[in-house]
C-alpha cells in the first residue's frame, strides 16, 4: 500500500482540527483501537487506521474532503461501523484516515403520507425505530439481524431485512453526495431545485446514479431517502422446522413460485441447525471435542433444543382476510412437497411490536460469536444461489464439506429474494487462537475460489477480501473492473475516497502496484 507521508498527515490533521475541533480528531492508539475490526480474522492492528476525523455536518465533510484532496490524504468513510463479519469499523489497510460519519445522526424528515424517511449516515436502525414509535408514526423499519448499525450504511452495502421491504438497496430513493472534489450533489429528482419528489421518484432525468454509490467508492453519501413500509393491519407468521435436512430443496422449490407471484413478499430465511443452536448456548453445552461437531452430536443437540435441521418463518403482512388466503396457498404448496407442518402466530395492529414482524431493537444476533467460547469473531461468506432447491443443495453440501474439512461447524442460511437466494454462512472462530484464524482465512480464500469455479459470486464480502472477490467478476478480461476503474479515475482523480474498496483502486495506487 501507499504510506501517507507523516508530514502531510500532520498538516492534514491540524487542518481537520480546524474544521471539526480537536475533540473530534483521533490519533495514535485511540484511532487504532477505536477503528479496529472487532471481529478480526487476523491481527486487527495490521489494518487499523492512522487517524480518524468525525464531522458533524455536510459543510464539515466538504471541508475535510477538500483538504484531503489538496494534500493527497486517503479517507475511509464509515457510518456507524457495525458491519460485523464484513470488517466492522475498520478500513482494509492502515494507510488511511477514517472519515467517521457517526455524529451526523439526524432524521431529517419522515413523510407519513408518502412513506419515506430522509436520514443521515449516523442514524441507527434503533434510532429510526424509536423515532417512529415515540411519535406514533405508522411506518415500519426493515432491519438486518441486529439493529446497532446504520440505516444508510446497511442499504448502501445492500443489506437484507425480513419485511416486504427487506431488499434495502431497492428501497433507496435519492442520495446527497459529497464528491471527491468536495462538491455537493443530489441524485434523481434532488437535482431539480424545489423538487417535491426527491424521495418519491427514484430515477430523475438522464442516467440514474443511486446504485453507483452502493458498494462503491465514487462519493460520500451524506443523506439518503428510504421508503418505509406502512404499518400492516395484521401479520401472520408461519413457522416450520424441517426435521430431515434432505427436505430443504423441496421447501425451497415450494417457496419459489410463492415469491415469484407475490404471495410471499417478505424474505424468508432458511437457517441451519447450528444457526439455531448458537443463539441459545455455546457449543460446549452440546459437544466438547475438537473439530466440527459430529452428526450424532448435532442430532442430539437439535433434539434437546427442540429445533429442526433447517428452520424458517414465512411472514405475511396486510389485511387479515388476504393473509388467510395466502396462508392457505402457502400450506398447500408446502404440503405437496415436505412432510413437516407449519405452526402459526398472529399479530394485530395495536398489540406490542415484539413478535409482529417489525424489527425491534436487539443485539442478540451478536451472541453467535460466543459459540466457541470467545473472544469470538466471524467471517461472513455470502454467495448468491439460484432460487432452486437443487442448486441450493449443491451449494450447501459443497460449502459445508469445506467448512468441516477445515475443522469448522457449518453455520448458514438461505435468505430468499424474489428470484435469488443469499446463502449467508459464517466461519465462527476464536480471535485469540492463531491456528483457528489461519484456518479460517485459508477456508475463506478457498470458498471464494471454489464458488467462482462453479459460477457462484458473493454479494458482499469482508474488507480484507475485496480484491479476491472482485477478481472473480472477470468476464471478458475484467471488463467490469476496468469500467469501475475508469469511473473512479474520472470522479476521484486524486484517489482519496476509500481506495481499494470493492477492489476498485485509483490510478495512483494501481501505478504503484504495477
Amino acid at each position: 500500500m501507499r504510506p501517507i507521508d507523516p508530514r502531510l498527515l500532520a498538516r492534514a490533521l491540524k487542518r481537520f482540527e480546524g474544521v471539526v475541533g480537536a475533540a473530534h480528531v483521533y490519533i495514535g492508539a485511540e484511532a487504532r483501537t477505536g477503528y479496529a475490526d472487532a471481529m478480526a480474522p487476523r491481527d486487527p492492528a495490521s489494518y487499523a487506521p492512522q487517524a480518524a476525523v468525525a464531522p458533524a455536518n455536510v459543510d464539515e465533510v466538504q471541508a475535510i474532503v477538500r483538504v484531503a484532496g489538496e494534500l493527497g490524504i486517503p479517507l475511509w468513510p464509515i457510518s456507524r461501523g457495525k458491519n460485523f463479519g464484513y470488517g466492522g469499523s475498520a478500513p482494509h489497510f492502515a494507510d488511511v484516515v477514517m472519515l467517521d460519519l457517526v455524529r451526523m445522526n439526524r432524521i431529517l424528515e419522515v413523510n407519513v403520507a408518502m412513506g419515506y424517511a430522509l436520514v443521515e449516515p449516523g442514524v441507527g436502525f434503533d434510532d429510526l425505530y424509536h423515532h417512529l414509535v415515540d411519535n406514533r408514526i405508522p411506518l415500519w423499519i426493515s432491519a438486518p439481524a441486529h439493529t446497532w448499525g446504520s440505516v444508510v450504511g446497511n442499504a448502501l452495502e445492500r443489506g437484507i431485512g425480513y419485511t416486504p421491504y427487506g431488499e434495502h438497496a431497492s428501497k433507496v430513493c435519492g442520495l446527497e453526495i459529497v464528491t471527491a472534489r468536495g462538491e455537493l450533489m443530489r441524485t434523481g429528482m434532488g437535482a431539480l431545485p424545489g423538487s417535491k419528489t426527491w424521495q418519491a421518484f427514484p430515477y430523475g432525468f438522464g442516467p440514474s446514479w443511486d446504485a453507483a454509490f452502493m458498494q462503491s467508492n465514487f462519493g460520500i453519501v451524506t443523506k439518503m431517502g428510504l421508503w418505509l413500509m406502512p404499518e400492516p393491519e395484521h401479520t401472520l407468521s408461519m413457522n416450520m422446522q424441517i426435521e430431515d435436512e434432505a427436505h430443504l430443496p423441496a421447501a425451497i422449490d415450494a417457496l419459489r413460485p410463492l415469491k415469484l407471484d407475490g404471495t410471499v413478499q417478505a424474505n424468508p430465511s432458511f437457517g441451519n441447525v447450528v444457526r439455531s443452536l448458537s443463539t441459545r448456548a455455546t457449543r460446549s453445552t452440546y459437544f466438547t471435542g475438537r473439530g466440527p461437531m459430529p452428526r450424532s452430536s448435532l442430532e442430539a443437540a437439535r433434539r434437546s433444543a427442540g429445533v429442526g435441521n433447517w428452520n424458517f418463518s414465512i411472514r405475511l403482512f396486510g389485511d387479515p382476510r388476504i393473509n388467510a388466503i395466502n396462508a392457505d396457498r402457502v400450506r398447500k404448496a408446502f404440503a405437496a412437497k415436505v412432510p413437516d407442518q407449519f405452526t402459526t402466530t398472529e399479530w394485530h395492529r395495536g398489540e406490542p411490536l415484539p413478535g409482529s414482524g417489525s424489527p425491534v431493537p436487539s443485539l442478540s444476533a451478536l451472541g453467535v460469536v460466543d459459540w466457541l467460547g470467545g473472544p469470538g469473531g466471524h467471517l461472513t461468506f455470502s454467495p448468491v444461489s439460484g432460487f432452486s432447491g437443487a442448486e441450493a443443495w449443491t451449494q450447501y453440501t459443497t460449502i459445508r464439506s469445506m467448512y468441516e474439512a477445515a475443522g469448522f461447524d457449518y453455520y448458514g442460511g438461505f435468505t430468499a429474494g424474489q428470484r435469488y437466494l443469499n446463502h449467508i454462512n459464517m466461519i465462527l472462530f476464536n480471535r485469540n487462537d492463531a491456528d483457528m484464524t489461519a484456518r479460517a482465512n485459508t477456508l475463506f480464500a478457498n470458498l471464494i475460489a471454489t464458488a467462482a469455479d462453479k459460477g457462484w459470486g458473493e454479494y458482499r464480502t469482508h474488507t480484507l477480501y475485496y480484491e479476491k472477490v472482485a477478481s472473480t467478476y472477470s468476464y471478458n478480461h475484467n471488463a467490469l473492473q476496468r469500467w469501475n476503474e475508469t469511473v473512479k479515475d474520472a470522479v476521484d482523480p486524486k484517489g482519496i475516497i476509500a481506495p481499494g474498496k470493492m477492489g476498485i483502486w485509483p490510478r495512483s495506487y494501481r501505478d504503484a502496484k504495477a
Binding site: G34, A52, R80, S89, N105, G122, D127, L363, L366, G374
Partner: protein, 113 residues
C-alpha cells in the same frame, strides 16, 4: 439520536424499582444521568436477557452478570471494556460515545448496587 432502549426493553416494574432506588423519601424519583446513559447506551445488551448479560452469565456467577447489580464496578474497568472491547464485546469509540458520557456511565456502575 440515540434514544433510550428501556421504555420497551425492560418491564415497567423493573424500571420503577431501579429508578426509585435512588429517590429519597418524599422526593420524586428522578433517574440520574449516568443511569439514563447506561440504559440508553448499554441497555441493549446489559439488561436482563441481553446479549451481554447472557454471555457474562456463562463466565461469572449469576448475580454478577448484570452490571448494574455488581456494585462497586471500578470505573477504570468499565472504561477499558468500552474503549478496547472485551471478550466478544466490540469496542465503542469516542466519536459514538464521548468521554463525558462514558464517565457518567462508569460512575453510575461504581455506585449502583
Amino acid at each position: 439520536m440515540t434514544k433510550p432502549w428501556w421504555p420497551r426493553v425492560i418491564a415497567g416494574a423493573v424500571l420503577f424499582v431501579a429508578v426509585a432506588g435512588h429517590a429519597q423519601d418524599g422526593e420524586k424519583a428522578v433517574p440520574d444521568s449516568g443511569q439514563q446513559n447506561f440504559l440508553a447506551r448499554c441497555g441493549g445488551c446489559h439488561l436482563e436477557g441481553g446479549f451481554g448479560t447472557r454471555v457474562l452469565s456463562r463466565r461469572v456467577p449469576a448475580d454478577r452478570a448484570m452490571l448494574e447489580r455488581r456494585g462497586g464496578l471500578p470505573a477504570g474497568r468499565t472504561r477499558a471494556a468500552v474503549r478496547n472491547g472485551i471478550g466478544s464485546m466490540p469496542q465503542i469509540r469516542a466519536a459514538e460515545l464521548d468521554d463525558a458520557t462514558l464517565s457518567s456511565i462508569a460512575a453510575y456502575l461504581t455506585r449502583a448496587q
